[in-house]
């Protein structure tokens, strides 16, 4: 069995010593990092720190040096995200920090995607996501995006305050067949319906499945607006996205 001092990266050692309390998790994580290369430990450390520039740089270097993509995922990116999950569960970090780590994960995965593509591994689907016009509340959307990407979807994030024109432009330009809109305010919820109407008016509605979500949104409201589906949270969003793409949910 490996020991904490077998891990070369000081930041990772400190993270484990300070934050990983459950003995079984501690043992598993120590064993994982003790056998991991220094560079993989550095990737994990940068990801935990939410440093997407450093994750970007180290992942690129690792792959250029010939390190296997699966090793980078196992010992760097996913190993780091595992610690992020534990720290979040213990309320040591919160949603903004988790989302920074998810952005760092995306920066690393960007270098792995061409390898996947060359191997014929395609994303489950491509999704356009945005918060509707007039709404600046994006946490729910960002959690959905994190889950979608982690589940193998390619996501085009349009951000907040997204007009119907911007949604339509993104769908057309990227040949996307799935789109998600979120709203947190009852005052901006009607803009989901207006966006769907804009798709109908532009003769684009049949090209794209539309899912909606957000705290005040209900299945009934989604049905009234003519959306193809409603997800009450990030997990439901992924299940819905898979169903709409005709992929079996795990």
């Amino acid at each position: 069995m490996a020991e904490l001092n077998d891990i070369t990266n000081e930041f990772i050692r400190q993270e484990i010593a300070e934050f990983i309390e459950r003995p079984n998790e501690r043992e598993r994580i120590i064993n994982l990092f003790a056998r991991a290369r220094a560079k993989m430990q550095a990737i994990a450390a940068a990801l935990i720190d939410g440093d997407n520039d450093l994750v970007n740089q180290l992942t690129k270097e690792s792959l250029d040096e010939g390190i296997e993509a699966l090793e980078v995922m196992d010992d760097g990116l996913i190993a780091g995200m595992g610690i992020v999950g534990i720290k979040f569960r213990q309320n040591l970090i919160f949603v903004p920090e988790v989302l920074a780590c998810a952005r760092a994960m995306k920066a690393g995965m960007a270098h792995i995607e061409p390898i996947l593509s060359a191997a014929g591994i395609k994303p489950i689907g491509k999704v356009v996501m945005g918060t509707v016009k007039g709404d600046l509340h994006d946490i729910g959307k960002n959690l959905c995006i994190m889950m979608l990407r982690g589940s193998g979807f390619e996501v085009i994030d349009l951000g907040v305050d997204t007009s119907a024109d911007k949604f339509m432009q993104a769908v057309e330009e990227n040949q996307v067949h799935l789109m998600g809109m979120s709203a947190l305010l009852t005052t901006t919820m009607p803009n989901m319906g207006k966006t769907i109407e804009a798709f109908i008016d532009a003769d684009l509605r049949d090209q794209v499945k539309i899912m909606v979500g957000g705290a005040p949104v209900t299945q009934e409201f989604a049905d009234e607006m003519g959306a193809d589906g409603y997800g009450k949270d990030a997990m439901a969003c992924v299940a819905l996205a898979k169903r709409l793409m005709g992929v079996e949910s795990r």
Binding site: D74, M81, R89, I93, F94, E97, I121, L136, M146, M235
Partner: protein, 80 residues
């Protein structure tokens, strides 16, 4: 270009999904009492106005969140 086994890649995606599902579930729990835009340093990361926002301690840093996490923080969000 490296080769990658699709089945092995799928195993990694499944493991990552498991981690992220735990995160998403906990985020829903925490959001019942703590504003999700409030970071670990009790700073506000929201791009919209909120009556709980206070001037940052240092110039250029994020505003401070003054919510006590006891009342429903969403009532303080400025929606106009």
């Amino acid at each position: 270009m490296q080769k990658i086994d699709p089945a092995e890649y799928q195993k990694r995606l499944d493991r990552l999904t498991e981690i992220l599902a735990g995160i998403a579930a906990h985020a829903d729990e925490v959001a019942l009492c703590r504003c999700p835009y409030k970071n670990r340093l009790d700073q506000c990361t929201a791009q919209f106005g909120c009556r709980n926002k206070r001037q940052p301690q240092a110039p250029g840093s994020l505003p401070i969140c003054a919510s006590d996490d006891k009342l429903d923080y969403r009532k303080a969000w400025e929606t106009g």
